[in-house]
């Protein structure tokens, strides 16, 4: 027997013991409402299975970490197979839990090898070319998939709703990426500009009867103006201080909307916001006087899906505009100055770059895209209230940017799908879905501390990349 085994067994047993001690209160009991009060049941079988899984899981990770690849791999496969096997365990969650443990061990086993191979590939000229091609084709494939998606057989109402939601966050992520990823300004109040855009459209459309497409640029300008006004006093702050002040501004905007009842109707919100039109045609079963419905215009029967698909294409278009704008501006002097400010503000000053103006443009441009997204949100929901613009929204958008990899466009898409899509897809897991959400975040931070996609493509090259000999 290997001399390294006993300490590892001891360690795994200790881990299992801790898990048992913690789990007995979290998962060991189940409370029921029996009318007169609460009563509880033991769920010790569940707990025992979980603890045993943790024991073998820890053992597997230990084996992998000392380089015993094959035993670890076999253990991981066995765990995965047990979890996936059609035996009846007390809850579905346990199946997931065991499978996840198996996957973790396998990942841990192949990680060093995969990492080394990737590092090697990244540094060879051929690898650089492949990664560039891959990024290009992957982006193109994603785009084609996104355009065709509404016509796919699985695109029911629920899926389309989720797709619209994810795309909204993708757009917000790309917008915030300008501020955080490029200019390096940690903005925790981004949702304020989203709110400004939403209320701009809600008020202008319900009070003055303006349409979605004419308000869209106004809402963007309005949000950008707010960005300038809020940015001017705070942008001389750096890092954490800036983050706290922007967070404060985010809350101030929400509180103003909540309390300035004459303007915003306060906590009751604004309802009856008209949806976007297509060349004047509305997406509803019956059109108001003087208008026609989309179904009439096209001569097709009405279906509630038409509206959803139209909304989907609008947000896809808005998101693509944001993306193309960012790609382009990154190669312009102002974009390079943003990145330079992120890297070293003192050096920028010495080179004659005006830091305040440069930061303000980043702040205003980022705010503008939040304004666009906000007015889309108002048009989609048809009802908005300050409740939609809480701090947690800012935090989620920031998490998307940070986990995607600061400054990476594709990374934001992946992170948005992961952070917004996963909690929706895993609704079957009930209360455990937030655990999965947290686990996904922890895993990304452990394995990819600089975000899913940390690679930075230079904005300009002196030597175009060519294949090596």
């Amino acid at each position: 027997m290997d001399a390294r085994l006993p300490p590892m067994l001891k360690d795994a047993a200790l881990t299992a013991l801790i898990a048992a001690a913690l789990g007995i209160f979290i998962a060991g009991f189940r409370t029921y409402d029996v009318g007169k009060g609460l009563t509880f049941d033991f769920q010790l079988v569940d707990l025992a299975i979980a603890v045993v899984t943790i024991f073998f899981g820890r053992l597997g990770l230990q084996l992998a970490s000392i380089g015993l690849k094959w035993p670890a791999f076999v253990l991981g496969t066995i765990l995965g197979a047990i979890g996936a096997a059609p035996v009846r365990l007390p809850s579905t969650f346990l199946h997931w839990f065991i499978v996840l443990a198996g996957i973790l061990i396998i990942l841990r086993t192949i990680w060093p090898w995969a990492n080394a191979a990737m590092a090697h590939a990244r540094h060879s000229p051929r690898g650089v070319i492949y990664s560039q091609h891959f990024a290009k084709w992957f982006g193109a494939a994603l785009l084609v998939a996104a355009v065709l998606m509404p016509f796919a057989p699985f695109a029911d109402q629920k899926t389309m709703d989720l797709a619209v939601l994810i795309l909204t966050y993708v757009m917000l992520g790309w917008g915030l990426n300008i501020v955080v990823g490029l200019a390096g300004l940690l903005d925790l109040g981004y949702v304020a500009f989203y709110a400004v855009g939403a209320y701009s459209y809600a008020l202008l459309s319900t009070q003055y009867g303006l349409g979605f497409w004419s308000v869209l640029p106004l809402a963007g300008m309005m949000a950008a103006t707010f960005g300038l006004v809020l940015g001017f006093p705070v942008l001389r702050l750096r890092g954490d201080y800036l983050a706290i002040v922007t967070m404060g501004f985010g809350e101030i905007i929400r509180l103003v909307l909540l309390n300035w009842v004459d303007l915003s109707n306060g906590p009751a919100g604004i309802g009856g916001i008209p949806g976007p039109t297509l060349f004047g045609a509305v997406f509803a079963e019956t059109a108001p006087a003087g208008r026609q419905t989309f179904a009439e215009m096209m001569g097709v029967p009405f279906s509630s899906n038409q509206r959803l698909i139209y909304l989907y294409y609008i947000i896809l278009l808005l998101a693509l505009v944001t993306n193309l704008f960012t790609q382009r501006i990154r190669r312009l002097p102002v974009g390079r100055a943003w990145e330079a400010l992120r890297e070293d503000e003192t050096a920028c000053k010495a080179l004659g770059i005006n830091p305040t103006n440069t930061k303000l443009t980043a702040f205003a441009v980022g705010a503008m895209f939040a304004g666009f997204a906000g007015s889309f949100f108002a048009a989609k929901q048809r009802f908005i209230s300050p409740e939609s613009f809480t701090f947690i929204e800012s935090a989620i958008i920031l998490a998307i940017v940070v986990m995607g990899g600061m400054g990476s466009q594709i990374g934001v898409v992946l992170a948005a799908v992961l952070l917004i899509g996963l909690p929706e897809w895993f609704r079957d897991l009930g209360a455990y879905r937030m655990v999965v959400f947290g686990l996904a975040m922890v895993l990304i931070m452990v394995f990819r501390p600089r975000g899913l996609i940390a690679h930075r493509e230079p904005s300009v090259r002196l030597h175009p990349v060519r294949a090596g000999p």
Binding site: F325, R328, I329, L332, P333, V334, R336, A337, E339, A340, E343, D344, T346, A347, C348, K349, A350, L351, G352, I353, N354, P355, R456, P458, S459, V460, R461, L462, H463
Partner: protein, 273 residues
């Protein structure tokens, strides 16, 4: 005043410069001038106030007392200008004692950021640039040509697309000088450019600085401890000690000045003369 190679012209005039931090007097009534097309070295023991002089000239500190005039058409009073305006309008560029490149950006990008103001004008506040107009593309091509020229002069053409932070130390020092030169400066302030260089790199640096003086016609202010650099290439030397100017003149004169020798080596009996 020592006679100079360029006659009576003055590039920068420092008059009665005093900088106090609370009770500490970092610079005490220092006056000197530097001429165009000359290398003026500022030397002195550690803590003599050399970098503080630089920080006053480049707008990072506001002097307590004193006037800093950059001669030209028109004259600029540097102590009244904001930090970035000194680079933008008065065209004073500087490097830092601890290198301050943009480490995540490539070598070429570093040199393009230095040409920001020129490119910004050509990009019409980014609007021409966003539209991809020819006017902007030409300006950008010129900026890249200029960057390539400097990369050739500092032997970094092959590394143009590498992140600046990956370069070896000596190359980073050279790149920082090239970046400062890409701003088209009239006065270049170098804070210990030879620090941490080996003798060969140090000799290459001498050639680079001499070519900046003679070929580009830029006035150089140089803080340096490496006497092999100072004595070989400077035209004029200013010696500071405890925030005061204790000597000034041609390298030969300063080298033999008793007060300078005292400041560097101390007196035999430790008493002040």
């Amino acid at each position: 005043m020592t006679p100079s190679r360029t006659g009576g012209a003055t590039l920068i005039e420092v008059e009665h410069l005093t900088m106090r931090f609370g009770g500490l007097v970092a610079i005490d009534d220092v006056s000197f001038t530097a001429r165009p097309r000359e290398i003026t070295a500022i030397i002195g023991p550690n803590g003599a106030g050399k970098t503080t002089v630089f920080n006053c000239i480049t707008g990072f500190y506001k002097p307590t007392v004193g006037r800093l005039t950059l001669r030209g058409e028109p004259d600029y009073l540097l102590e009244r200008m904001l930090g970035h305006e000194i680079g933008q309008k008065a065209r004073v560029a500087r490097t830092f004692q601890n290198i301050r490149l943009f480490p995540g950006m490539t070598v070429l990008e570093n040199l393009l950021v230095a040409q920001h103001n020129k490119l910004m004008r050509a990009s019409g506040m980014s609007i021409y640039g966003l539209l991809g107009l020819k006017r902007f593309r030409t300006a950008e091509a010129e900026a890249i040509d200029k960057a390539r020229l400097w990369l050739e002069r500092i032997q970094l053409v092959a590394d143009a697309d590498r992140p600046a932070g990956e370069l070896p130390y000596g190359a980073q020092r050279r790149l920082e000088i090239a970046r400062a030169m890409c701003t088209d400066p009239r006065l270049l302030c170098l804070d210990e450019p030879a620090a941490g260089l080996n003798p060969r790199e140090s000799a290459e640096l001498n050639d680079l600085l001499v070519s900046i003086r003679d070929r580009d016609g830029v006035g150089v202010l140089l803080i340096e401890h490496d006497m092999s650099v100072v004595m070989t290439i400077s035209d004029h030397v200013v010696v500071l000690d405890y925030g005061r100017k204790i000597a000034e003149g041609a390298p030969e004169e300063v080298r033999n000045d008793p007060s300078v020798i005292r400041a560097y080596l101390g007196t035999e009996d430790g008493a002040d003369a």
